[in-house]
């Protein structure tokens, strides 16, 4: 009496032996027909769906799996480590206290902080400049782990970082506080130093919509 596992073992041992094809199978006609049926099924279904989408029907049945990238973005996982940002207090000043924990732990040494004295004696310090060189960053997330103030996060859902030069990968404190505001065609302002009174003025006039937070149905774009 053979147990189930024995039977499975025999099957695996015999798997390399090919079954002899029947005469009808050896003409390859049934397999060809099956294949043509499958692909033409897809063709007619997608053709119908594309035409139906034109007149606004079957909107929730996508006709293609394509996500047209710059126009549409894929919904990213909430825990995905994406580009950094600095969190703010209610008055628009950074939450960062300039403790240098992130700069110290950074394995790529891509964080550059210049700390200044905060007018509030309970806070002690604030970052005059806070720069990250994304060309060096390895996206390990240690800075986020190390921060005692929850001042730096990697949750902007921005991962489309491309630049024509190494300088183009530079993020200064203005960009880090308001992600997506920097004009990437222009050379960056490195180590730009801000006074504590400058921060409330940094609020962007029209904040850009965060990408990756929603996905438009793929069939909407033509």
């Amino acid at each position: 009496m053979s147990s189930l596992s024995d039977q499975l073992l025999h099957r695996i041992r015999d798997a390399h032996k090919r079954r002899n094809l029947t005469w009808w199978e050896r003409t390859y006609l049934p397999a060809v027909m099956q294949g043509l049926l499958l692909t033409s099924n897809h063709f007619w279904r997608n053709l119908f769906l594309h035409m139906a989408h034109r007149v606004g029907l079957f909107r929730n049945h996508p006709a293609a799996v394509t996500i047209q990238y710059p126009d549409q973005t894929r919904k990213t996982g909430i825990r995905l480590r994406t580009r950094h940002r600095l969190t703010k207090r209610d008055d628009g000043t950074p939450r960062c206290v300039g403790c240098m924990m992130c700069e110290t732990i950074c394995p790529a040494r891509c964080i550059y902080i210049v700390a200044g004295e905060h007018p509030d004696p309970n806070v002690e310090k604030y970052p005059k400049s806070f720069d990250i060189d994304l060309g060096k960053c390895v996206y390990c997330g240690y800075c986020v782990e190390a921060c005692p103030e929850d001042a730096i996060r990697m949750d902007t859902q921005r991962h489309d970082i491309a630049a024509y030069s190494r300088d183009g990968m530079w993020l200064d404190i203005k960009e880090l506080l308001n992600p997506g505001t920097r004009v990437f065609n222009e050379p960056p302002e490195k180590f730009v130093q801000l006074e504590i009174t400058d921060f409330p003025k940094l609020t962007p006039t029209a904040p850009p919509p965060p990408p990756g937070t929603s996905v438009t149905p793929p069939q909407a774009q033509r």
């Binding site: 043509l36 692909t39 897809h42 063709f43 293609a64 799996v65 394509t66 033509r222």
Partner: protein, 375 residues
């Protein structure tokens, strides 16, 4: 005399324009049909706009729509091919290198001369055959030109001074001798059945009805011949699953050393040959321009109804019927091209010599018996 010439030129323009447009359309079809079959979107980005004073205010929305459908990609392709540098390799022969694509495309286009695209038109006291050359051995003419076409490919492989091109050319020649016999022999059954080599007569005979209701199309009376011929014709077009002369992943193919419009001509030849294969299958096995139950006097349905049709409407219906059938076959060949993987080299030889050839021989014998028994 002048009028006859003008009519002939008109028919030529109709056939040539139709064939070239179908060939150009296939670049679009190849992109979009494959995309639909694989759940993709396909080409939808290439478009251009006109300045407003050149009709842009009217045309630009249309152009954007066409670009969204991927149709303008064909224009972009053409522009790219025409403006690319024409390179002849140092070890190559400039004259033969230029001649090869021209030979290819010339013979592929010439073969359409003998294919009737519609019934004979009786207009203004004239009989106008909708056929460029009324050859009474039209079938042989088409087969001969189709097989000469492969010379261009072999020549291209020979004079490119590139081992991969030479391999491609050699593969083309040996592929040709494995499908060409089946291609010819599979038609002998049809020739015995119709008793003619004239394609126009062949089509007219397919207008008969079997048992009073079934159109006597070639596919009904010669199913095996049709299958073998379609397979061999597919091999003739040098496209997947029979694209051994190109075989992009193995050898880049006979046109490795071609660039610009010379490559474009080879590209065009492939598509023209697909149209040729579709037209041949339609003509010999699917009734050509025949519409079921349509006689020159009008529709005569097997259930007893009749519907009179004027002569010009009869001609128009014939032309539409031929076009639709050819389009269906182009679609079908494209479906095969995007479904089946490439045959291995020995598999193609096996298929040609050991399967298709005996099958078509058996078809001749059975057809011969049937013709004798029925007469």
């Amino acid at each position: 005399m002048i009028v006859d010439l003008a009519i002939k030129l008109g028919v030529c323009a109709l056939v040539l324009g139709g064939v070239l447009n179908f060939a150009g359309m296939q670049t679009w079809l190849e992109r979009k049909q494959s995309a639909l079959m694989q759940d993709r979107i396909g080409a939808n980005r290439a478009y251009f706009t006109m300045p407003w004073w050149l009709g842009g205010w009217l045309l630009n929305p249309v152009l954007r729509k066409l670009g969204g459908l991927g149709i303008l990609n064909a224009l972009a392709d053409l522009l790219k091919l025409l403006t690319k540098e024409d390179i002849v390799p140092e070890q190559g022969d400039r004259f033969l290198h230029t001649l090869a694509p021209l030979l290819s495309v010339f013979f592929a286009l010439m073969a359409f001369c003998a294919i009737p695209i519609g019934p004979t038109v009786h207009l203004w006291g004239r009989d106008i055959p909708l056929q460029v050359a009324n050859v009474n051995a039209g079938l042989l003419f088409v087969l001969a030109l189709a097989s000469i076409g492969v010379y261009g490919v072999i020549l291209a492989g020979m004079v490119s001074g590139n081992n991969l091109s030479t391999l491609g050319g050699l593969r083309a020649s040996s592929q040709m001798i494995s499908y060409e016999i089946a291609l010819g022999v599979s038609l002998i059954g049809a020739i015995i059945w119709y008793g003619t080599l004239d394609l126009q007569v062949m089509i007219e005979k397919q207008g008969a009805l079997l048992g009073g209701w079934l159109p006597a199309w070639g596919v009904v009376v010669q199913p095996v011949g049709c299958l073998v011929f379609m397979t061999a014709a597919l091999a003739h077009t040098k496209r997947v699953p029979f694209d051994l002369p190109e075989a992009e992943p193995e050898i880049i193919g006979y046109f490795t050393e071609y660039s610009g419009m010379k490559f474009g001509l080879f590209f065009l030849t492939d598509f023209v040959e697909v149209v040729l294969a579709a037209a041949m299958v339609t003509t010999i096995f699917f009734g050509g321009w025949q519409v079921p139950y349509l006689t020159p006097d009008g529709f005569v349905f097997p259930w007893g109804g009749t519907m009179a049709v004027t002569h010009l409407a009869y001609v128009g219906l014939g032309l539409v019927s031929f076009t639709v059938k050819v389009l269906c076959f182009i679609w079908f060949f494209m479906l095969i091209r995007w479904t089946l993987p490439r045959f291995r080299y020995d598999q193609l030889m096996h298929l040609g010599w050991k399967v298709l050839f005996p099958l078509s021989l058996a078809n001749i014998i059975v057809t011969g018996f049937l013709v004798v028994a029925l007469s």
